[in-house]
Point group: C2
Chain length 909, copies 2
């Protein structure tokens, strides 16, 4: 067996690794190797591999057998290329040690500098540089860093000693301390070190180095690093690499300096060299913010030659890496060193602009441009967001579901009426409710954002807010709202009506107070990017929309049709709810009496029952005929916007009790409007109550037991189609039957719908073929997935309702899963909340099975998805892979879906 190599050396003309070795050398190490290879001035050094770290843990925190020998070899090599010696001699070699995993990870040990210093080498350093201040400062820093990060001596003790000394010397900045001051400080630091460790500070350079490397290995699994990985969802890494590099000093005097810069502006994306520098300073001084750095252009005046070298280096780097670079440099006595480079973090605006610019510059190709922007980041361009810096400072009150993206600050109000009133007075308000109901629509419209403490990603609040493109945090269960006291409480904070609150609907976080905003802007580059994306994607992108307005918004965002119109939302508006409640009130009576008539063989009884049926039947038909024109009008508006693009309309889905008032006051109102005793309303509410409404009398079950409701809806759809068609506008309605589990359900529902359609055509003298329509199903019941071959016989299309398919497939109630799903993600049972990110292994398997079976029966059956997952990038990629025809999502997620679809096509070519 070939011996494993743990140490990769880098120096001019003798570099072991390259950018390809990121897995093994970490991001930082791979880039150091790569930069060295392409001839940039990098201080030489070596990288210990991530495999070494992994084996360190596997062996119970012991180094792999051959690591030390390899390290010693590399140090010898370093001594050779630098002409210096490590831990002794007149020209001492000083080293830095840094951790560096595959992805950057703030929680780990960062840096120990100046390793190799001791009393002897310090003398040599001072003699060689003729700069005692530099030497003593370097030494005190080594003791402090080594003590703190390697030996766990409390950081504060060193800081206190420094502060005491500064006070005594009467100076403000470290840089004002004299050599003598620093000598005294070193003495004190050595004492602190001994007190904290019961050991003397190690004078042996190799011991310093070995312990520092140990500390990096150990920091891989410290709680902060684990926490960081958990929060940032970093999984599957084996360990960290360790970078050991020759020290260079930016603080050797006026011809030395250090800086951080970007090859393009990371916030706007403009192509201009951007960054800042400090003369006579170390890198950490920039971060510490004690002195204010200058814009990078200033360097061109102080050290024009080095500035030109730097410009050449940044151009070379960007050209080499084909991406905007974030680089660190140090100039040591007029000699430029590049210490680090990486792809720079950027705002979404900058990401889009850079992708389009670099494509125009022919630096990258079309595919790379499309891949360069993270779809999820587009939210920043579509919604107002908090200023990230301001958000970091804000006090968290609680967390809920990221129900509708964007940020919003406003004054707390607890009811819709107040929201409307205050908004009319020019106040900015956030509507905070336990949950919302149709009566709250007005207030929701006027509020800047919506917070609920109950309900999931598809609760009323969430769905309505997304449709409006309005920020919403839903189901923030750790916040308690008390309507009677007009206050909300969370994390020890109490907010009263009128207090400021801020919601981040992208992350689901709730803050107290007001947070500065960044308003969205949609540049022409954005349009360009979408156009490029559309060249690659195979998946169609449709929108979930219930109104003409939302449909128009969706089309603006590039929707190619509507994948889901929820007809029940139309019942919630204004007076419609009255008609619909009237209908609910008699529907069951009508059904029961009809059944009794059907079952009876006694003529007299039949006559009696028919008599009893008259009154409720009249009310039933009245309510239906009140609703018909309203629904028809809704559909007309949507069809007119769509101009012939397809429109999938779901027939009534939620259980009837969702439409009845659950509270005393509402029940009283309903009784008054209907002219009946309130006790009758209560009785109906309790009759319709369900133990598990999710698995209750809803979806197509309603249409089958109350066929007149479906018939009214189908009639409204088709009459609207006929009317719009008569205006010369094409229409393409698709009727979707929800919650089908058994092919017979769809067969009956389809037959009933077709009967109505034929009637409408006949009444309007329309030939059957001239208005094309489809009838299909919302595939959301596991039974339907595994019998999709049968169901396909009756379906023109399947649209996967992955919300409900997740609920039934996994056996989670969206409303209740909060109690354990958080633990589940924590325990790695599910990688992500399956309501936010499609559970590809499980729910996805059901989708795959259904696609396969469906196509077996009907080769060209149309397949789509209209669950919340339709706008989530990894889920969109899954949809691409299983060969769906389209995804459908809320209007404001359309651009995300378009980009994700394009990236999926590119990745899976």
């Amino acid at each position: 067996m070939k011996k494993e190599k743990y140490v990769y050396f880098f120096a001019k003309d003798q570099t072991d690794g390259s950018a390809e070795d990121k897995e093994l050398l970490g991001g930082k190490g791979a880039n150091l190797a790569e930069m060295t290879s392409i001839g940039l001035p990098v201080p030489p050094g070596f990288t210990i591999t991530t495999r070494a770290c992994q084996q360190f843990y596997e062996a119970g925190k012991k180094w792999p057998a051959t690591l030390e020998a390899e390290m010693d070899e590399s140090i010898k090599e370093l001594e050779k290329v630098t002409g210096k010696t490590f831990g002794y001699g007149e020209n001492p070699l000083l080293l830095s040690v840094r951790s560096g995993a595959v992805v950057s990870m703030p929680g780990m040990m960062d840096t120990v500098l100046n390793l190799g210093l001791n009393e002897k080498t310090l003398e040599s350093l001072i003699a060689k540089t003729n700069n005692p201040r530099l030497g003593w400062d370097a030494y005190r820093r080594l003791i402090q860093m080594f003590g703190d990060v390697v030996m766990n001596v409390p950081h504060q003790k060193f800081e206190d000693a420094l502060d005491r000394l500064k006070a005594k010397a009467g100076v403000e900045f470290d840089t004002d301390l004299t050599v003598e001051d620093l000598q005294e400080l070193v003495k004190e630091y050595l004492a602190i070190y001994k007190e904290g460790t019961n050991e003397d500070f190690p004078t042996d350079a190799k011991e310093q180095l070995v312990k520092s490397i140990d500390a990096v290995f150990n920091s891989w699994n410290n709680p902060r690093a684990e926490k960081y990985r958990e929060i940032n969802d970093i999984k599957g890494l084996i360990g960290t690499a360790v970078n050991v590099q020759t020290m260079v000093f930016g603080n050797m005097g006026d011809t030395s300096g250090t800086g951080v810069c970007f090859t393009r502006d990371p916030s706007t994306g403009e192509k201009e060299f951007y960054g800042e520098f400090l003369m006579n300073a170390q890198g950490e001084d920039i971060v510490a913010g004690i002195r204010t750095p200058e814009p990078i252009i200033g360097l061109s005046k102080i050290l024009p030659v080095q500035y030109k070298e730097l410009l050449e280096a940044e151009r070379k780097l960007e050209y080499h890496y084909k991406d905007m670079q974030d680089l660190e440099f140090t100039i040591e006595e007029e000699k430029l060193y590049i210490l680090q480079t990486r792809s720079g973090k950027r705002t979404a605006t900058a990401a889009v602009k850079m992708a389009i610019d670099m494509y125009a510059e022919e630096l990258i190709d079309k595919e790379t441009a499309v891949m360069r922007v993270s779809p999820a980041d587009l939210d920043q361009l579509l919604h107002p967001m908090f200023d990230p810096e301001a958000e970091k400072e804000a006090k968290v009150v609680g967390r809920g579901l990221p129900a509708s993206p964007g940020g919003a600050s406003g004054k707390v109000v607890f009811d819709a009426d107040t929201a409307e009133r205050w908004a009319a007075d020019g106040k900015t308000v956030i509507l905070c409710r336990i949950e919302t109901s149709p009566e709250d629509i007005g207030g929701m419209h006027r509020a800047k954002g919506i917070l609920t403490t109950c309900g999931g990603m598809t609760s009323h609040a969430a769905v309505v807010a997304r449709g409006m493109g309005k920020c919403c945090v839903a189901g923030a269960g750790d916040i308690i709202i008390d309507y009677s006291k007009k206050e909300l409480k969370g994390s020890g904070v109490t907010l009263k009506e009128g207090d400021w609150i801020s919601l981040n609907g992208t992350s689901g976080t709730v803050y107290s107070g007001k947070i500065d905003m960044i308003e969205p802007e949609m540049s022409s580059d954005f349009g360009e990017l979408m156009k490029l994306a559309d060249e690659f994607r195979r998946l169609g992108v449709r929108a979930n929309s219930d109104t003409p307005h939302d449909t128009a918004v969706a089309i603006d965002f590039g929707a190619e049709g509507i994948g889901l119109t929820r007809t029940e939302h139309m019942f919630f508006e204004g007076d419609r709810i009255v008609s619909f409640r009237k209908l609910i009130f008699v529907a069951d009576t009508v059904k029961t009496l009809r059944q009794e008539i059907e079952d009876s063989i006694d003529e007299e009884e039949i006559a009696l029952l028919e008599k009893q049926l008259e009154q409720p039947l009249k009310q039933y038909e009245e309510a239906l005929s009140e609703l018909l024109p309203l629904q028809r009008q809704d559909f007309e508006g949507i069809f007119e916007e769509l101009k012939g693009m397809p429109c999938t309309i779901r027939l009534l889905d939620p259980p009837l009790h969702e439409f009845l008032p659950q509270d005393e006051r509402g029940q009283k109102e309903m009784a008054d409007v209907m002219g009946v005793e309130v006790s009758l309303i209560k009785e109906k509410v309790s009759l319709l109550h369900e133990m598990n409404p999710m698995l209750g009398h809803r979806g197509c079950r309603l249409g089958l037991t109350y066929p007149e409701i479906s018939a009214m809806q189908v009639r409204a759809i088709m009459e609207a189609a006929v009317n719009v068609k008569k205006k010369g506008i094409e229409v393409s309605p698709e009727i979707m039957i929800p919650l089908v589990g058994h092919v017979e359900e769809l067969r009956i529902a389809r037959a009933q719908a077709e009967e109505v359609i034929e009637e409408v055509f006949k009444d309007n003298n329309i030939e059957k073929g001239s208005i094309p329509y489809q009838i299909g199903t919302l595939l959301e019941v596991p039974r339907a997935a595994v019998t999709a071959d049968l169901i396909a016989n009756e379906a023109d299309f399947f649209s996967f309702g992955t919300n409900d398919l997740t609920q039934m497939g996994c056996g989670f109630s969206r409303d209740d899963a909060g109690k354990f799903l958080e633990d589940y993600v924590r325990m790695d049972i599910y990688e992500k909340d399956p309501f936010q990110v499609l559970d590809q292994d499980g729910v996805g398997r059901l989708v795959e099975i259904a696609c396969e079976l469906g196509r077996k029966t009907k080769k060209d059956i149309a397949l789509g998805i209209c669950g919340e997952h339709g706008g989530e990038p990894s889920s969109v990629e899954f949809c691409h892979k299983v060969g769906l025809d389209y995804v459908s999502c809320s209007p404001f997620r359309i651009p995300i879906a378009r980009l994700a679809a394009a990236q999926a096509a590119i990745k899976n070519k």
Copy 2:
């Protein structure tokens, strides 16, 4: 194309059909042909096929084109073999017309006799028989039957005329009427006929025949017949056959007679010729019950030769059909005719005895014996049943689910305390509750039967009742119980406390009043049958049992182990609920604090949290240690009964809120016992409330979030195993993790369990192999079914929980499905309630997928079913077909499952 044959002729030496042609000729027709073929004296005739009836409907109630010609041909043939002429002449041919579908169907038209009579043929008949009374009686019967059943003249009008005449003549019986009386009656009948039809009674014989055949065809789809098919679940038949047969007269004088008999006793199964007869009578006279028939043995004295012939015929028939026959005969002037034979209906007791006897007699083989008894009928042998005659008379109050079989009458009581008190006083009571809860156990024990108006087949009441083998009707939603008034109402009947009520738990029907009972008896034949069955079945049969007592009962019934022990039922008994509630009360606090400690990196905060944790943790551990010995003791009892047979134990499954009192009083009690404010209890109850508890925090989700509860249960199981093993009794525990949807859930739960098991072994110095155990999962989540290949990696067995798999697979809540499932069955969407009979096409497909995937990973993975379907015959057959290893059901269904499993093996050889 060959012309289709619609008419099958039968007469000595020229019979077209046979018993094989049942589909085409109906049961009766096929048997007439068969009997004729084997040389029995059957009056000749012909059968019109079921296909003719089907085509009659398809053609809009028109005869197939060639039918009439074929019929005419057959009449000619009949005239030839009988030497008589139809509708004219001196020796007139009289015919009967009877319907006859594949299965006997009381709703259809029955019989028209004496077709061919008119004034002329009547004269000939009288002349030939020299029996004017017979002639006029035959004629008046023809007019009445034809008028009533063919022409729809109200039956009552003829009856009234007859009554008037009898009153006028001063006689009691029809047979006392003189010829002159009958002549007057005929005149009146003809007038009634004309009044009712506006037509004269048809004198043309062929017209009489054609109209009668039409009437049979039409009766196939009359409401009564449709209703009968619906109730008896008769599906897929194409139509009825029509049997046209030469009349014979049992009322031709003292050497004539008629009778009905069985080749063996249909109620006991004894091998003795059994039946009754009437001299000088027609078959209908026996049915009418005006004269009392004599036991068949009497015939041997009156007509010994004919009796001997009859004996030979019945022996021949039984031998020929290899089954007990129910036959009708008529003797016309010393000439014996066999009119009909069919396999006789029998009680379950008789069915078992006959099967065993016939096998012993070598009349049938072993397989036939096993196939001869319907598994569902075994309930009659295991539970007290209502006398079917008495039940028919009883007043129905409502219907619910057949939750636990058998019949029971008792006095209505509305609470468990009263049930116990009254039972102690020697009263027989039925406990009637909206739903039952653990507190009711005592009362349930003392009641004869249990009625609930809410809850499904697996509600508390249903499960507990089945375990006790006690009759239960659950979820009778149309009955309203009012606790405050102490009354229940249904179908217009009000029953007060103390009134008699009767429950049929086999059908789910509730009656008012007391109904006579038939007590069950388990004969040695029953044991024999079970033994025969066991020779054939491949499926193992286990029981669902939660107590040592139920386990003993199950083993008596032949259980080969326990397939499901629900550990939570143990928590409901007596004081245990107190400990368990204590546990629930602090579990969440403990969990939350622990999590906060884990998440914190601040030493001080950690210390503070640890301090806060102390008290609840103490209570938590106290509660666990109170429960441990109780659970251990339960398991010891069960293991001791099982003597090494396997025992699958499900860890805690229901959501915690099910254990908390939902009512004010109970909450107050709990607060008192725990020494806390009642408001705290209420807060906990509301905190644990779930929107969809079915899809909530239950099953393995509990064990994963509260691992100590699982650990306690696993410890109790394994310590019990160790203790029992120490007594020298073998044990074979199988730990079942419920509600697994993701392999990671099982992996973690398994690892946790194995850790505890190792501890127990270590503590008891037991070597790992010496107590074999298995860990597997209750496969009941659709996601688990489609990822069973992954789950099998962590499972020693899958036990299909088809109750929940149906709920989640179909998206039905058991508790709510009542609202639409009845309609669904009515609409033929599902053939049967999928909670009672496994939905093989859908839920069954999930089971098949899981079996296939599971075996792909682990060839020998053990597969069973422990849902309610495990004791339902058609579902058992499905389990056999997909190759499960065993079924598990409630103890009293074990014999049913054994027989069903044997029949499945025989059918699917």
